[in-house]
């Protein structure tokens, strides 16, 4: 009936077309409400995430950034009582459509968490192969070795660990563990990579390594990153969405989304200006 409803639908069509001609996987989020039980944590998100680029989500803590990013690969619903209303289209297909298997969604949309979480009982190589083993149990040895090397190179970790692939992943430093988790995520060749504050537990040097890595990965993957660090958002992303919250117990929502340089130099909304200039908690 109104323009605001029409626009996202055509976004979906365009995205489907893009995907078909190999332009990558644009994510189109439509009227997304995200709940924990009865608590509405994030309301009414409409957003287009461009393929093969880095999109940053920023905002004060508790505004629902983690909640939102987890709804993009259906990880939100693994929490008891958590649910979602609305749609998330990838390749023009609604991730929340009837009959869509969340397991299949998660194989297509990889995720890296705030705290590095390699499997402590597995070696470095087995960690990298963990996702692949789920898809196809039988991979021969040379295939496996190739995949381990390729993924670890992709995560800029190969040189550091190539001599101890059979050692436990928990023996690595925090930054190395996080890059191992990235290697594990890209080993299953997802189309989209979600990262929820991937550097917040890391020292500056490891952070730099991961930021460089994101720069390389964005030519292959559509990357969405949550960060509380605005310099980081400015360094790595091409588009930025600003989330906020009006008070505790209120739902978080998107204030505005724009090209990153616009968001940091010339945003439209006063609350964005306050946040990016540090005048807001």
């Amino acid at each position: 009936m109104t323009e605001s409803v029409d626009t996202p639908i055509s976004d979906v069509a365009v995205a489907a077309l893009d995907a078909e001609i190999g332009l990558g996987n644009r994510i189109v989020v439509e009227n997304l409400n995200i709940y924990y039980g009865d608590f509405l944590a994030v309301r009414d998100v409409n957003m287009v995430i461009e393929p093969r680029s880095v999109t940053a989500l920023i905002g004060p803590s508790g505004c629902g950034k983690s909640t939102f990013i987890r709804s993009l690969n259906r990880m939100h619903e693994v929490i008891d009582g958590a649910r979602v209303e609305g749609s998330v289209y990838v390749d023009g297909e609604d991730l929340y459509g009837p009959g869509v298997d969340p397991v299949a969604v998660r194989r297509k949309v990889g995720m890296v968490f705030q705290r590095p979480n390699p499997f402590p009982t597995m070696s470095i190589a087995d960690n990298v192969l963990a996702g692949k083993r789920l898809n196809s149990r039988r991979i021969n040895k040379s295939e496996a070795e190739d995949l381990v090397e390729k993924s670890l190179r992709g995560a800029n970790l190969w040189e550091e660990v190539k001599d101890r692939l059979d050692k436990p992943g928990s023996g690595l430093s925090g930054g190395q563990q996080q890059r191992l988790c990235i290697a594990r995520a890209i080993a299953v060749e997802p189309e989209i990579l979600l990262m929820d504050e991937p550097c917040s537990a890391l020292d500056p040097i490891s952070t730099l390594a991961i930021e460089q890595l994101m720069n390389e990965l964005k030519s292959t993957y559509t990357i969405v990153i949550v960060t509380h660090n605005m310099q980081q958002a400015a360094r790595v992303s091409s588009r930025t969405a600003f989330f906020t919250i009006d008070g505790t117990g209120q739902p978080g929502y998107v204030v505005e989304m724009d090209d990153t340089d616009v968001m940091f130099s010339n945003p439209k909304q006063q609350s964005t200006i306050d946040y990016v200039t540090g005048r807001f908690g």
Partner: protein, 318 residues
């Protein structure tokens, strides 16, 4: 207050809070050291008792008994390990399954209720299990299960028969033992499964694991050493279980893997319970010597379990 006790020219005066916390440390340290020593002393006392009382058997005149100690204890030792292993074989998969159901599948209310009933199972005295085994389980098994096993699987040495009509078989004893050790293994497994870090479960799910794959990838490896500890506690209980086995089993002085016949090797503990009242003199020493063997077996089992639990990367140190 300790300051007044300090002799002149002794320790320098320290702040009172520091003194009390040091005192607390010392008291607690003393208590735990004492407890540790007490355990070792008890263990040593038991071992010493067993050695001293068992000794006469080994030095005894060969004519005293009509068989050597080794041939006397061999069937008992076999029966003990055989019964306990069978029980563990039955109980372990079931316990892990139930624990997983409680920790990861069942709705909260059902999980809590089920957990409660399983804990209750642990509180039932073993003599009650024995009576249940002989009065309820044995007739059922001997009527419907053992004849079938003999007819259809009789080619396996385990079910060679002739099937017992009383049901007082190794199999019945092992089933009862399995029920007895089920609660402890379940309870410990459930605890370690519940402690799997959410972080690792989500890591697996985010890679596209189904729930069962997530359990294989994150939960079971993390809980592995805990499950082994639980299994060993269960095995320990099964090795030493006395009353239930003594009531159920119809013993004979043989070694056989046949689990459905009337002729069964007895276990060390049940044999002691059965024979002790009618024993005197050297026979008592011989029974105690079999107890020493059981003591030794338990030690070996624990050591092996520790080896298994510690091999590979531990899930708990991540």
């Amino acid at each position: 207050m300790t300051i007044t006790d300090t002799p002149p020219g002794g320790d320098t005066v320290v702040a009172p809070t520091e003194t009390t916390s040091k005192l607390g440390d010392r008291i607690f340290g003393g208590i735990s050291l004492g407890a540790g020593i007490l355990i070792l002393v008890t263990l040593a006392a038991v071992a010493l008792f067993l050695f001293v009382e068992a000794w006469p058997t080994f030095g005894a005149d060969p004519g005293e008994f009509n068989e050597s100690f080794v041939s006397y204890v061999a069937p008992l030792l076999f029966g003990t390990i055989w019964a306990a292993s069978l029980a563990l074989l039955m109980a372990l998969p079931l316990a892990v399954g139930v624990a997983l159901f409680i920790s990861h599948y069942a709705p909260k209310r059902i999980a809590v209720t089920l957990g409660y009933f399983i804990d209750l199972l642990a509180a039932i005295p073993s003599v009650v299990f024995g009576l249940w085994g002989i009065a309820v389980l044995a007739p059922i098994l001997s009527r419907s299960v053992y004849p079938w096993l003999e007819d259809n699987l009789g080619f396996l040495p385990f079910f060679a028969g002739p099937a017992s009509t009383s049901g007082r078989t190794m199999m019945t004893a092992a089933v009862v033992l399995a029920v007895m050790i089920l609660p402890i293994i379940t309870a410990i497994s459930r605890e370690v499964f519940l402690q799997t870090p959410r972080l690792h479960e989500e890591a697996s799910l985010a890679l596209g694991a189904t729930k069962w794959e997530m359990i294989q990838q994150a939960v079971l490896p993390y809980g592995r050493s805990g499950v082994i500890s639980g299994a060993m506690l269960g095995l320990g209980r099964a090795l030493g279980e006395t009353m239930a086995v003594a009531i159920i089993l119809s013993p004979a002085n043989i070694i056989t893997v046949n689990v459905i016949s009337n002729q069964n090797p007895n276990t060390i503990a049940a044999n002691i319970a059965l024979k002790f009242p009618e024993s005197a003199g050297l026979s008592v020493n011989r029974l105690i010597a079999t107890g020493l063997v059981l003591f030794f077996v338990t030690f070996v089992v624990n050591a092996l379990a520790r080896r298994i639990a510690n091999s590979g990367f531990s899930g708990a140190d991540g």
